[in-house]
Each structure stands twice: as C-alpha cells, then as structure tokens.
C-alpha cells in the first residue's frame, strides 16, 4: 500500500541484530519526514524495548528470537516487539522516580518508553509491547 511501510522481522537475541532493526525503522521514520524530536523518542523507545526483550525476556538465549513488526505512515509509527520469555506484569515494576528508587541503577526503561511514546501497551502475558508514536 502506498504511503505505508509495514515490515515484520525476526532477529536473534543479539544486540547487534537489534541495532540493525533500530536503524531500519529509523530510516523509514526519516524518509517520512518525522521531526528530530519524534525520531529521538522512537529511537529511545526501540532501544529500551529491544534491550528488555533480549536481556530480560529472552535472557540472551541464542535459541530464542525476538519478533519485531512495525508500520510507518505519515501519521504515526506503530512498533510491536515480542520475545519468547515468560512475560511479566508491568504494573509490578517499581516506579523509578519514587525517592526510595531514585538511586537504583536499573528499572527506568519502561518508564522512558511510556514518557516518550504516545501509547504503550503490553499483551496479557507481558512478553509483547506495542508502542505508538504520532507524527507531530
């Protein structure tokens, strides 16, 4: 369909492969003329989402893969990242901005994804995140 880039990719639990996915999506985002601020947000969210999938979801297991589906239109970018891990309950992730968590070195990825994307949803199992960023 003209005006829409829609792709599905399956990558190994490998951070270099994740980088290639990130660049592929960002190339499309650039091609559709998204602002620098939007591109910054999308890059950050993809990075956090793929890191979570590879590190926490698949535990760097080389036998497990990560599925990435994305659709870029002039209006919005939709990205879905699915790992083969057991999933988790995002509601149980501690708020990293609470005073008692401020100096903990981890636990900010999901918060940044929420802050920088317009929508972020997890499937009931918690092994798939779907993110939307509108072109503003």
């Amino acid at each position: 369909m003209e005006g829409i880039c829609h792709k599905r990719m399956v990558i190994a639990s490998d951070l270099e492969a994740a980088r290639q996915v990130e660049n592929t999506i960002l190339d499309e985002v650039e091609r559709y003329g998204y602002s620098d601020a939007s591109a910054f947000s999308i890059r950050l969210a993809i990075e956090e989402g793929l890191n979570n999938a590879i590190k926490h979801g698949n535990g760097y297991d080389p036998n497990k893969t990560v599925q990435v589906a994305f659709a870029v239109t002039p209006q919005q970018v939709v990205i879905s990242i699915t790992d083969e891990g057991p999933g988790f309950d995002p509601a149980r992730v501690p708020d990293p901005t609470c005073d008692e968590n401020l100096e903990k070195p981890c636990g900010r990825g999901i918060m940044l994804m929420r802050a920088y994307m317009d929508e972020i949803h997890y499937n009931p199992c918690g092994n798939q995140v779907r993110m939307v960023k509108k072109n503003s």
Binding site: A37, L44, E48, G107
Partner: protein
C-alpha cells in the same frame, strides 16, 4: 595532556579529572559496559575523585547509561569525591528530568562551571 580511550577523552585540570564522552550515541549494552569500566577505573585511581563529565557529543542515551552514571556517582561519593555533569544537550537533559536524576546529579552548563564547582 589529553589521554584518549575508546569512548572517553580524559584530561586533568588541576585536581579535576575532565572526562569527555566521545560517542554520539550511548545506547548499546556493550559500549555502555566498556564506558562504565573505564569510568569506574578513573574513580578507583584517585583517592578523592573530582570528576567533570562532559556530554558535549552525546545526542542519544539509554536507561542503561543512566545506570552506569548512578553507579559511578555512588563510587565517587564513597571515596569522598564529587562528580559534576556538564554540556548536556536539551534532549538529553529531558531524560535526566523525567527520571528525576537531575535532582541526584550536580549539573552545570559548561565545562568551566563544572570545574569551578569541583574546586
């Protein structure tokens, strides 16, 4: 005398160690781990480290990089030292603000002010 390392440019200004982060993107885990090891080694090599971290080049940063900065900050303080961040681009500063880490870290506008704050 400037001393290059893969991800850092390190110089001394009096008692202050000025560390310029050279990558534009501090995103991938491997690089972040290497940057962390280099920064921790700098902190460990001083009795009471005074470190100015210059973010001039940094245009992208992930939550893992924030984790390294938090750990470094803790180690520096444990040795009675201090750490100041400077030259942070507005988009990167927003990450610090969203995560409230701007309340934890001392942040100065530029390198001169960072060095001054550490003297």
């Amino acid at each position: 005398m400037s001393q290059p390392t893969p991800h850092l440019k390190v110089a001394n200004d009096g008692q202050v160690t000025v560390v310029e982060l050279t990558p534009k993107k501090i995103l991938d885990e491997m690089s972040i781990m290497q940057i962390g090891q280099q920064l921790y080694a700098l902190a460990a090599g001083s009795a009471s480290p005074r470190m100015a971290l210059d973010f001039t080049n940094v245009a992208h940063m992930s939550s893992s990089a924030l984790g390294v900065l938090i750990t470094l900050h803790k180690r520096v303080r444990e040795k009675g030292g201090r750490m100041v961040l400077c030259n942070i681009q507005p988009a990167i500063y927003e990450i610090f603000a969203i995560t409230r880490l701007n309340e934890i870290f001392s942040i100065q506008a530029n390198r001169q002010e960072a060095i001054l704050a550490l003297q």
